[in-house]
Amino acid sequence: MQEIITLTGIDPELEIQTSKVTSSVRELLQKHLNILYPLKSTIKQYATIITGHEIAEQTRLSLPDLLKQFPVKDAKMFEEVIKILTAQAPRLYSVSSAPGSHGVNEIHITVSKDEFYVEDEKRTGVSSEYFSTKPVGTEFEFFIQKQKHFRLPTEDKDVIMIGPGTGIAPFRSFIAERDAQAASGRNWLFFGEQHFVTDFLYQTELQDYLQTGALANLDVAFSRDQKEKVYVQHRMKEKGAELYEWLQNGAYMYISGKREPTSKDVEKMLVDIFKEHGNKSEEEAEKYLHQLVEEGRWEKDVY
């Protein structure tokens, strides 16, 4: 924010009215507006304000970078820019706690630090970075978005959960809740990450669940621990017969985590498993998967 103020010479205390809020420039840049990764459409509008510069079609830059490469004439012009910036979008996180187990006064989330490179420079995601820098005791504003579909079945049903990376979040909640319910249905978790030694989220909790029987099966894959990459879908394949048997028995299956590439690969693998263990043709296997979706027995919460 300081960089933006220096670059544009705008008075940080100046009150500006945007489509959603009226506040000081300082507050707006700090809290309300998307300055780190403006939308493509925002950049297009930006190009029309500054005039005199051609900005290529697909450009996506943070506001400071934009201001450096394509400067505004003066503070006045920057006021116009502020008005076209969109609001900071909310970030959604799956709740990883369960009232039955962690009490009704706690909500846990499981956040992975989003790190990426922009032209060889390491950057971090706004919200995940924000969490990681705040001390214990920091207060946050948040809202709760209800989940309609991604919910536990009745307690007698078996549950298969596929949650690589932070995809484990909702399943930590599921298992804790099922444990609290003393559910008679069995629970099976597939988890994957890069390294066994450092990245095994909730390892000791899951081991305890395995000990007590709250988890019937726990299968894990760590992709970077050996030469060949091993992912959750490979563990599913290894346990294909058992997995198919669970489904035949009426199990509910869930996947959570990154959409690409995992959830696609997992679906491909499921089709293979149905072919092999259900003696199905490609078409029949796909139909079987589809049927699971229809019956609400194959739920996805991927992002």
Binding site: F196, V197, T198, F200, L201, Y202, Q203, T204, E205, L206, Q207, L210, L218, D219, V220, D225, Q226
Partner: protein, 552 residues
Amino acid sequence: MSEQSPVEKIKIASKGLRGTLKESLQDNYTGAVREDDTQLMKFHGMYQQDDRDRREERSMKKLEWLYSFMLRLRLPGGFLTPEQWIAMHHVAGEHSTGTIKITTRQTVQLHGILKSHIKPTMQSFNLAGLDSIATCGDVNRNVCCTSNPGESPVHDEVFQFASKISEMAKPKTRAWYEIWIGEEKIGEKVEEDPLYKDRYLPRKLKVGIAVPPNNDVDIFINDIALIAIIENNKLIGFNLAAGGGLGATHGNPNTYARLATVLGFVENDEEKILKAVYETITVQRDYGNRSDRKLSRLKYTIDKLGVDKYREEIEKRCGFKLEPAKPFEFTERQDRYGWVEDHKGNWHYTAFIENGRVLDGEGIDLKSCLYKIAEAGKCNFRFTANQNVILTDIKDKDKAAIETLLNEYGLIEHTDKAGALRKNAIACVAFNTCPLALAEAQRYLPTLISKIEPILEKHSMINDDIILRMTGCPNGCGRSPNAEIGFVGTAYGKYNLHIGGDRLGQRLNTKYKESLNEEQILDTLDGLFGVYQKEKKENETFGDFSYRKWIL
């Protein structure tokens, strides 16, 4: 009879040391093996350990302790070919912390092997003709033997007995090959093992062989000891001794360190010698304490039965009598650093390796140096019980080439430069890997020695070959109980000081001061050295003097 220890049940139920090890390997949600299997792992040459420095941090992260395995090779007499050295070098780099640790039993330990890396590690060793069978656990451990062929013309003949005893006392089960190498199990039956049966031994058992006049292997600390008797440059047989062992437990007066008692002499007849060793083991197997593991070593059995009864029992089982022991004399207990030529004209170079840790950095690239030497393929490698390495069996024509490599890496200078105290010192591993450690040893002793050296200098004792040893607990892995100066950890940063052991390893030391911190250690030694220098008799070692002055 009191109830047998839980380990006894695990052994009996193990179906030839198999247990559920295969299943344990498949539990990929944990870096540990199943509880009972942790006992069986030992018989396969591994200890499950964890990084104690990181426990707290990991618990906070909901990660289990950082489990890994220490693996110990079976190297009778501590011998490796250059090809085997190369294989070991690569395995250490790919699967362990990278450090090759030479142990006080002339073998090698690799630390930090994750469960998922055990099989590849074992398979690489197997390809190199090496294994880790029975290097831990309630069995005969790695057999030690005086290591420098330059010591005596009969060395080679004596040395062969190390391998023979190791083979004879190796468990008969094929479990090691099935579990780690993937050998098919033949049939359902568990192999017959006439020596170990299904209960193995009550506790570990150590066998050593010494070639006088050098007691470099510290022969009297072994459960079973063979002392070569040489007349006119011929091996005429061995004195057989039994009942050595240095471990004790703080606060348990029933436990104690003990040196082996010489039982008698066996003539140079291979069958008879092996038989005598074999039956010394079976007596321990049958009479050893199986309910209290703290009292189950052979030394307690021999004291319980009485030395004469133990001897009679051996003789009865052997079908022959032990002859009266022959006289022998040890004159030293250290490695012969530098070059030694043997009677055949071959050369042997003993290099100093502090704490037996072969690694790069820390002032000298030992690991690269030894790797280069192995690649040259002109010498074998032998480990000493003082945790050093001897480059052996070097032809006269190859000596210069080896010397060049040694100089290139500064190993000759490194060996020559190290002070006498440092060269003769031993420390056990203790923190951060040994679960029993109460205080630092290996990580701390080098620093302590640097602080003791100026005191020695002050009292003109810097060239004295004083034997100093440190262990992180009273278990005695670093053989502190028969050192001239022994430190035994009692709590973090605190050590009991023991003095009065002799230079040759034939008398145990005695506790002199309790729970000293570093400052108190240095002060105390300063005082003791001062008195020694003033009052010693000519040629009296520090150990003998302190025994006479302060212990008797």
